[in-house]
């Protein structure tokens, strides 16, 4: 009766093809994908041949875009490292049995997920220097530290939730087995629960880190010379949108695509004894 999923039965017992059976669905999918590719390919071709100014492209790529790219890459690397580290701490707080610790971690997550990153960046950028008398704030280049602090605090909340979910998904029996062997809670967490929680949370953490890369675009508001700022500079000086747009797209994808590869490599590596190994 496997056919009954794609075919309907008429009253006199004969099989009749429905409008959307498996074969037509497959063809429909391929057709849509083909049309989409054709459309996008055509659009890109039109842009490259009619809109992109290759002289301008060469002129702006270095130093402006290369510098912006390296700046974003640096912020992403530091922000990723710090937000994942802080996120593990937040996640451990979220699964804590100590009510106070748990409440603090929950409050942290609620605040940093519940308000926009842009707002948080403005709070740090304008709010912190206000504790000093005007002109007395000791850090003259406050925008980059703001960027790293803001991205770390914000994404630690999301990573923390991913870690909490990862820990919750490890069966209780794992900690019980560790404890029954005489291991402490800390040893059980470190040796048994967290390695498994990490595997469970990897996809969600990777997803969040891709968003962190894209969130660097908000830094244009606090005057970090990043990729969107570079676009706006070029666009306002030349009125050419497409040449810098192409560069911005390439620059972001040069970070996000390898990041995705790193995450799937880590996922494969922690497939203990599975057939992906």
């Amino acid at each position: 009766m496997a056919e009954s999923y794609s075919e309907g039965r008429t009253r006199d017992g004969e099989y009749q093809e429905q409008f959307l059976n498996d074969k037509t669905l497959r063809r429909l999918g391929a057709t849509i994908a083909g049309l989409f590719t054709l459309g996008v390919g055509g659009l890109v071709a039109v842009i490259i041949f009619t809109q992109v100014d290759f002289d301008l492209f060469r002129e702006i790529i270095y130093p402006q875009f290369v510098e912006a790219f390296l700046r974003v890459l640096g912020i992403v690397l530091v922000g990723s490292l710090l937000s994942v580290t802080a996120g593990v701490i937040v996640g451990l707080g979220r699964v804590s049995n100590t009510r106070f610790t748990n409440a603090v971690a929950t409050g942290y997550v609620e605040f940093f997920r519940g308000t926009p990153l842009l707002f948080q960046l403005l709070v740090i950028f304008t709010g912190i220097p206000a504790f000093w008398p005007p002109g007395q704030f000791p850090i003259s280049e406050w925008a980059i530290p703001t960027a790293i602090i803001g991205l770390t605090l914000n994404h630690a909340a999301y990573v923390g939730e991913a870690v909490r979910g990862g820990i919750d998904a490890v069966p209780d029996g794992q900690m019980e087995a560790a404890r029954s062997l005489g291991m402490s809670y800390v040893q059980g967490m470190r040796e048994v629960v967290l390695p498994q929680a990490w595997r469970n949370a990897l996809a969600a953490i990777g997803n969040d880190q891709v968003i962190l890369v894209k969130d660097t675009s908000l830094l244009t508001v606090i005057a970090v010379p990043e990729l969107i700022s570079a676009f706006r500079n070029v666009n306002s000086a030349t009125f050419d949108p497409w040449t810098p747009i192409i560069l911005v797209a390439i620059a972001y994808l040069m970070i996000t695509i390898p990041l995705g590869k790193v995450v799937s490599h880590l996922e494969t590596r922690s497939d203990w004894g599975g057939d992906r190994r």
């Binding site: 069966p171 029996g173 087995a177 029954s180 062997l181 005489g182 402490s184 040796e191 048994v192 203990w272």
Partner: protein, 242 residues
Amino acid sequence: MSLLEFDEVDKYFGETHVLKDVGLNVEEGEVCVIIGPSGSGKSTLLRCANRLEEIQDGEIRLEGTSISDPDADINRLRQRIGMVFQSFNLFPHKTAVENVTLAPTKVKGLKGDEAERRADELLDRVGLSAQADSYPNQLSGGQQQRVAIARALAMDPHVMLFDEVTSALDPELVGEVLEVMHDLADEGMTMLVVTHEMGFAREVGDRIVLMADGRVVEDSPPEVFFEDPRTDRGKQFLSKLL
């Protein structure tokens, strides 16, 4: 002094009174088999014995030292109590041999090669030398459970707790696990076994403890319990088995 003593133990899950004034002494070298209908509290009793569950009243002592005392050094006491679970609970990110060496190296501070030599011995004893480097998901249920027994033995426990260890196994894999337990009993290990395997209970058990509704209702040698139980609850339980 018995090896493991339950003294007027009461345990509640919220409002539910799951262990009612349970007293039970397990002597050194004894195989004590706990049987009873589901929900009678037998697994809970076992889990209280290494404090995976807290008790509300009474005391549990291992070799004279209180386990249930809030100030007890529970991590140290648990090293003397091996436990094997119904659902194996092997560590999936570690190979068979790593499952066995983890606690001895982390808890007892054994050197890596020393722990490994001991693990090899234990895996050999449960018939799994060839599977030492396999991950749990590459092993059958019976093999996983035998690794779990080796893992518990690696801490050199003075008593072993078996919590329905064959209930999650395919019928053809039950025998290999029971065989390992039988050997262990023959070597003189003190064992507290919750099981539905009546053949094993009769053959290997020194004592049959029947639990019902959170109480110990009969405590007899197997030849008495299976031939002519002393209590009505015992007779009732046996009649349902046949």
